[in-house]
Symmetry: C2
Subunit: 259 residues, 2 copies
Amino acid sequence: MNRRDFSIALGALPLLSWVISAASAAGPAEAPKPKIGMLIYPGMILQDLVGPQTVFSILQADIRLVWKDRKPVMTDVGIALTANDTFDTCPPELDVLFVPGGLGGSIACMKDAEVTGFLASRGARARYVTSVCTGSLVLAAAGLLRGYQATSHWYVRDLLPLMGATLGAERVVEDRNRFTAGGVTSGIDFGLTLAARLSNDDTARRIQLLIEYDPKPPFAAGSPEGAGPALTQEILQRRAPLIASVRKEAEIAKERLGI
Amino acid sequence: MNRRDFSIALGALPLLSWVISAASAAGPAEAPKPKIGMLIYPGMILQDLVGPQTVFSILQADIRLVWKDRKPVMTDVGIALTANDTFDTCPPELDVLFVPGGLGGSIACMKDAEVTGFLASRGARARYVTSVCTGSLVLAAAGLLRGYQATSHWYVRDLLPLMGATLGAERVVEDRNRFTAGGVTSGIDFGLTLAARLSNDDTARRIQLLIEYDPKPPFAAGSPEGAGPALTQEILQRRAPLIASVRKEAEIAKERLGI
């Protein structure tokens, strides 16, 4: 079943067509679908990808999951993904280049010249270079955040300046064509923010209403400030070995980038 | 690679072990992992599943994706899922029975006696019977929400009373052991709420900080009230044929349930 048949089966096509035609009404009459390349990799966090992918999918973007090969890639929750494109077949000109997080897997990507080389080549030409969670560490290791404000998961974001970025304060940090977001669930905020740029605010609002994004977290513990120092320190202590590994990779990248 | 090897590869196991041992410290010394059966079906919305699954996965729950067979099941974003258990192999006693949404697919499930029969059998014995988005329509068609407060995606939630439920006002509606949540993104709020019941508040807070759930939606359009009547009416009008189909199925279920 191809995507069009699937959308019809879902009963979603009339609505999707209308969302996109509403977007087109405010822009060029025959706006092409935005071409979005989303990196996938072993050990990635599936939520980091699915949040923005859900938004871009309603926007009827041309979404490609991209990896070195088409072997199944295992994610944190035990669901395997398969790439639609390899590094070789991924179009050279993307509207959006996106990297999800997943700390162990992100470290492996930071030290993999094939991955950073692919990101550097597509990132140099993409309209938007973007990430959620520790995906920004991979972008930075590819030299793509040098001289830009950026963010990452709260427990590693202070490592970004090692690779030439300035730490931004927001949940979604926008600096020229770089959009980087905080940990895991920030992908929904990021997706809607970028959807507004790719189309317009009204289309992004329509998507937000369709996915009923009116969050009511049961606790106020979603940030170090909200969770308090005790809980924050506990997590930092438990994550210390992994944070030390990513710091080491960031320092190696700093040398390589000549920063 | 099995789940344990994968967790080690991800560098996540030490943290996960600590999350669960922190949970255990407040409860029985050797609390067994909660057994969670999550229905998957063609046309489902992947975000509805992945939000709570991410939370339950950090809680180290024993998560099983369940469907009629092990053929790939296509989701809204073009990612296929494969069941770990069929209706036959799914354990009879679940701690949590969960149903995601996906309107076209939900309608197909409401009229499928094999699906509603499976849900009724597991739902009668599960500690918690739960859903996100239009998953509650499927639970209701299986007779599992009769006499309970419940909710669903905003554009179809008023159909729940046809099948014997009372409409609740919250984003996550909890009535005895039934937990139903609003559209799509409410699955994260639901997952954290249920994680607190399955373990304790501190463990849920820890997970919330790990997934950095400190939402900052770029617009206030996530509910009909926030989006305003014009946008809401536009969506209701576009979705009218699909809403009419689900109303028809709800009325058939009402007859079948003798309500």
